[in-house]
Symmetry: C2
Subunit: 312 residues, 2 copies
Amino acid sequence: QSSNSDQPLPDSVLPSWNEGKTRTAILEFVDAVTDSNDVNYVKPEDRIAVFDNDGTLWSEQPMYFQGLFAFDRIRSLAAQHPEWKTKQPYKAVLENDMKTLAEAGIMGIGQIVGASHAGMTSAEFKQIVLNWIDTARHPIKKVKYTELTYKPMKELILYLQQNGFKTFIVSGGGVDFMRPWAERAYNIPSENIVGTYANLKFEMVNDTPALRRESDGLFVDDGPGKPVGIQRFIGKQPIAAFGNSDGDLQMLQYSTIGKGIRFGLIVHHTDAEREWAYDRASHIGKLDKALDEAAKRNWTIVDMKKDWNTIY
Amino acid sequence: QSSNSDQPLPDSVLPSWNEGKTRTAILEFVDAVTDSNDVNYVKPEDRIAVFDNDGTLWSEQPMYFQGLFAFDRIRSLAAQHPEWKTKQPYKAVLENDMKTLAEAGIMGIGQIVGASHAGMTSAEFKQIVLNWIDTARHPIKKVKYTELTYKPMKELILYLQQNGFKTFIVSGGGVDFMRPWAERAYNIPSENIVGTYANLKFEMVNDTPALRRESDGLFVDDGPGKPVGIQRFIGKQPIAAFGNSDGDLQMLQYSTIGKGIRFGLIVHHTDAEREWAYDRASHIGKLDKALDEAAKRNWTIVDMKKDWNTIY
Ligand SMILES: [Ca+2]
Ligand SMILES: [Ca+2]
């Protein structure tokens, strides 16, 4: 395998990525770690690649999609909760009052919704997520959420897998929110998905085992929690990490500082026309410190507008 | 593929297992779930098999091997801790006073040693475990601990892998104690090992990332914790579970009660000559409730003396 850029590359390799230094950097890294004659060769069992989800594998505007799932859940359950008409943040959700919701913050809303899903079993929650992902539509794009996954990134996952990499999602999103659909959407199985979770409790009811969701014992797989999640679930230092925001800073540091060549990549949202354009000032997916660090660490920056010929 | 027992089986399939109903039960289960014409066919991505470690994949007498590791650690560190000569349970370890140690219990000793390993990084702890597993000898068998892994069970793991199963260890042992050597010993990679763990903290020291071990936030992957660990790390209900003690009861229930055929197996330690013989009255690997439940649930019992022609 050679990454000599004078040679034409087969159309089947990363076709949604435009020719240029971003695509070349990916190909050269993969060539080096898979070439057993290269000083930077890495055995397949150590070819660990970790991907953030929101803003890295699918869109995240105008709100993390798990937040939009939560809002849909509040609307679905409103009839059973007449008190929500006057109680925040439920009132804001029911009135579509985005200003108040922005002030409440995604974590505040997430925790309330997390609590409202506590007490059900893992199997029940999975079914709710599956029903939502199969039916809900994005408020602006008007398509199913899984149609807002990035084609170039799915090609990249496949390309790494074809080159012997083990690919994982390491996301601040809830692990039980992602697993029901991510296997189909990204070709990443449930056991390779690391995310935020709370306690579960095993129980036997009518001779049937179940795991009941609790609201305590929250592990937040974001920021400095991402390397912790990686060690806990994977147990190895990755050699490649893909993110888009300051929440990925520590995961990128943990994955790219070490012996041998490593690969860090940041998806920079620069395409206001086909997707969204935002970075340092955004409430969702803020990219500030990690953008500064990228230059220092030699991480690759995807300029979405320039580097991707197709978004979805 | 057929499990017709009139046909001779190739020598390469489970050679350390004697012909008989235990071996036949394994073969018939695997045949059913891998035969796409069988009503019980299971797609490869759902062929999840979980294995306990202590007493299921390697021996656990006269003490869980992680306990013996802990004792060796106390001896190694004794010169730096003169106060241990008079302080229990350290005194008992240094004097090889097994009666006092038995009274202190493995959990008590484990927690003390866990605390003594808190504050070091994951990388430092891994190196200590690797040094130990490469050099330490079992006090009775006088061989390396990895030579006390069960050959029939390693054949079984391989056989399941060859039939498209995803194989996991789900053990009460420390995940960071198992991972350094289990990949080589069992052909199960670090990301497929679920175990007990405490908190980790990410830090950057001298521009180098590290995960520091803490002593709080303990998750005990034993008993009712095993199904919790399975859901958290794997996210799917297994279709086969392999254990040897009451600590596996809930894992066996969770894995075997469900639609389609499932497979539960208990390794019964019946061979005092080649290994050890113990069950209902043992302090280590007590097998009592799970043995009663096995009959009710139709779990397969391995009679080690009768079913295995080779132990190690
Ligand atoms: Ca993100
Ligand atoms: Ca055991």
